[in-house]
């Protein structure tokens, strides 16, 4: 059995070393997910670091990351495994005449003809693995049924080969934007973590950590503005990813002081709707040209 993290404090310290600043609840939940060997379901608005947490866990524990990006229409053949029927066809054609059918039949359903997809690869790996199932809310309900077997028993049944069980349980992270309610069955098997916008202090630390060479004073000003923007009624409130982008923009523009004119000029980096920009300009009393 792998120990992923020794304690919540250890999780926090090692994730920090991997470049991911957690709050207490996040560190504790990450630790529990490892200790209880349960999948971790992370929900939250876009750009708060859901996917990044999975990557950071992989970096912090030296595990390899296997990623399954979900989308509408994802099916078994893309998520789990598929038989390489072209190769099978070749095998049959190559052996025509000189082999008995029963031999060929046994032969073409072996490992050699199996194409493993992320879920099966993650289970069959012997080394520590972080399995990231990204944007799980984008899939159809049928795929959730498929996930159930994998998430609860960490095994996959292939009719021709039998059941493949995990020799070493992967650290599973599911992320969701909550564009659809996941089924109770999936949720029941997971630990749940909601990642929201961080408090000002942590956000300052994150921005400063992600963007080297930025002035502390600019970081403080930037986070102040972002916090105020989140209080407005906007269609899409800026998240951490936008703050970091903004900081990078300011570094690139060599801005040493975030004054109103600069905010007005670079607002497009943080707000992606025209009406949001107008609203922000009005509320922050910016002089827009």
């Amino acid at each position: 059995m792998t120990t992923w993290f020794e304690s919540p404090g250890d999780a926090s310290a090692r994730l920090r070393a991997a470049g991911y600043l957690t709050d207490d609840a996040t560190a504790l939940t990450a630790y529990l997910a490892g200790a209880l060997e349960k999948p971790l379901l992370i929900e939250g608005p876009a750009g708060v670091g859901k996917t990044e947490l999975a990557k950071a866990v992989a970096r912090a524990t030296g595990a390899e990351l296997v990623r399954l990006q979900c989308y509408e229409g994802l099916d078994e053949a893309r998520a789990l495994y598929e038989w390489n029927y072209k190769k099978q066809l070749l095998r049959i054609q190559a052996s025509q005449g000189d082999a008995a059918w029963s031999e060929v039949h046994d032969d073409i359903f072996t490992e050699e003809f199996l194409l493993t997809r992320p879920l099966l690869s993650a289970i069959r790996r012997d080394e520590p693995t972080v399995l990231l199932i990204d944007e799980v809310d984008k899939t159809d309900v049928e795929v959730e049924g498929l996930l159930l077997e994998v998430l609860s028993d960490f095994q996959v049944t292939i009719p021709e080969l039998g059941t493949v069980s995990a020799t070493r349980r992967p650290f599973v992270v599911l992320t969701s934007n909550a564009s659809r309610e996941l089924s109770e069955a999936v949720k029941r098997r997971c630990l749940f973590l909601h990642l929201g916008y961080p408090d000002a202090e942590r956000e300052r630390a994150i921005v400063a950590g992600q963007v080297p060479g930025i002035d502390d004073r600019v970081v403080a000003q930037l986070v102040d503005v972002v916090v105020r923007l989140r209080e407005l009624e906007l269609k899409k409130a800026p998240s951490i990813a936008e703050s970091v982008d903004w900081a990078r923009t300011l570094v690139a523009l060599q801005v040493g002081d975030l004054d109103e004119a600069t905010v007005a000029r670079t607002l497009g980096v943080v707000l992606k709707h025209a009406s949001d920009q107008q609203r922000a300009a009005r509320e922050l009393k910016l002089a827009t040209g």
Binding site: D24, L28, T29, L32, D140, R188, L191, E231, E233, Q278
Partner: protein
């Protein structure tokens, strides 16, 4: 009470507060608690939250129940020893003055710990209601807030912040937030006191509010309405995602020969998978007629915002508001318009829709049929929003029946509980005979209804 009893009681309380906590999740929580240290209350809270709460809107409820079952402290706490309730009507007493000075100081510095301690003190000294009969709680957040009156401290606080170099608007916002925080702390502490006295299991049902999507429109406070408004866009997005999925699931039209043959080449000419042409999605034209008089205004606004946020799902949407006269407001909802602006112009239109200012459904319906009757045709659906309280005036039932008869579908959404329909001046039951009436009291019900209207129906 043993630890296990506390755990079982806590899980039961969560269930009665509406969180679907399964047996397996309860077991998960126990094995999670076995692996963390219990010296920190927040650790226990996070461990419980990770295993039991699987939906973010329920987190508020969870926190409230947790605070009752695992209180921060018992009684007045160690620091609060000797905090005797100040008896009698001492609204001007010296103790109160001293307390308010301390509170003003804590608010000015924004010290969270000091505010928490003061909240405990406020309930202990000014929130006690001794001598009440058995069964009635002897602590009250209301009483202590009335006496301490933190809202009167806002002005001084703003002045202090201004002197500290903040601009006026920001100072006011910060002041409002800090006083609101203190109020919340006092309410939480009063709940804790009451729970201590009467047993946690008796308090949960009475004091925990429903989650925001189950909160009645008519019972919402101002801050709730703002929170609901923030929920509209995520709700619309969820509905839109669900709709696209369902439309795609039903999209199998006639066989697409070219794509099927093309795909069969990969399998040696055997068409293993057939491909189909997409079906054209059907789009409904929608005419919304809403009562915007005081009592139901917020309900009408939410419904309109949601309908227009989902605009792509409909063919054409026209919206009319009425009190006793009818005004068209479709233009207010430009695509990409700002929510706050829309709300302001809606409020302005409400005054235009009132001729005498008393709700009159009969007159409004007649005027609508006269002036905008052509809006309704065989391709459009009619949606009426309102509580059907028409001040005992003429109901114009035949007019509504005629409108409903001309439309493809007609519904009436009523924000009142079904048991109030037809009571007092409500004509909900009589209108309900003409147009199918649907109860729509909260965001969850509203979302379900709108989804039902736009869902691709197999038989159409």
């Amino acid at each position: 009470m043993s630890l296990l009893d506390t755990h079982i009681g806590f899980v039961e309380a969560l269930r009665s507060a509406g969180l679907p906590v399964s047996l397996a999740e309860g077991l998960d929580a126990i094995s999670a608690l076995e692996r963390v240290r219990w010296h920190d209350r927040e650790t226990v809270r996070a461990a419980y939250a990770a295993t039991l709460v699987k939906r973010q809107p329920q987190r508020v409820t969870f926190d409230a129940v947790f605070d009752i079952w695992f209180p921060r402290l018992v009684g007045s706490g160690v620091a609060g020893d000797g905090l005797e309730p100040v008896a009698g009507p001492q609204d001007t007493g010296a103790a109160l003055e001293r307390f308010r000075e301390a509170l003003a100081e804590a608010l000015a510095s924004g010290d969270a710990q000091a505010l928490q301690d003061l909240a405990v003190e406020a309930v202990a000294r000014f929130g006690a209601m001794p001598g009440r009969g058995p069964g009635l709680s002897s602590w009250s957040a209301y009483t202590s807030l009335q006496r301490v009156a933190p809202s009167e401290l806002v002005e001084g606080l703003v002045r202090g912040l201004l002197a500290g170099g903040m601009d006026p608007e920001q100072a006011e916002r910060v002041a409002g937030r800090r006083v609101g925080e203190f109020t919340r702390l006092v309410e939480g502490d009063a709940r804790r006191r009451i729970a201590e006295e009467k047993g946690a299991e008796h308090v949960v049902g009475a004091t925990v509010r429903p989650t925001i999507d189950r909160l009645d429109f008519t019972a919402a406070r101002r801050s709730d309405l703002e929170e609901m408004r923030r929920e509209i866009y995520p709700l619309a997005r969820r509905l839109a995602a669900r709709l696209t999925k369902e439309q795609h699931a039903r999209r199998r039209g006639p066989l697409d020969v070219r794509r099927t043959v093309r795909a069969s080449i990969a399998t040696g000419g055997v068409p293993l998978e057939t491909h189909h042409r997409p079906k054209r999605p059907h789009r409904t034209d929608l005419v919304v007629l809403c009562d915007v008089s005081g009592s139901v205004a917020s309900f009408a606004q939410f419904t309109l915002l949601l309908v227009f946020a989902l605009r792509e799902a409909f063919g054409n949407v026209r919206a009319f508001t009425f009190v006793d006269d009818v005004v068209e407001v479709s233009d207010t909802f430009r695509p990409g318009a700002d929510v706050v602006e829309v709300m302001e112009s809606l409020a302005a239109s409400a005054s235009q829709a009132a001729l005498w200012g008393r709700t009159n459904y009969g007159r409004a319906l007649t005027r609508f049929a006269e002036e905008h009757g052509d809006a309704i045709g065989p391709r459009s659906s009619l949606l009426v929003l309102g509580d059907g309280r028409s001040n005992y005036s003429d109901l114009a039932l035949p007019v509504l029946a005629d409108l409903a008869g001309r439309a493809r579908h007609a519904w009436w959404l009523n924000p009142e509980h079904r048991r109030h329909w037809g009571t007092g001046d409500s004509a909900a039951d009589r209108y309900g005979e003409v147009v199918p009436m649907v109860e729509c009291r909260n965001l969850a019900q509203l979302g379900e209804f709108v989804h039902e209207v736009v869902r691709p129906h197999p038989t159409r």
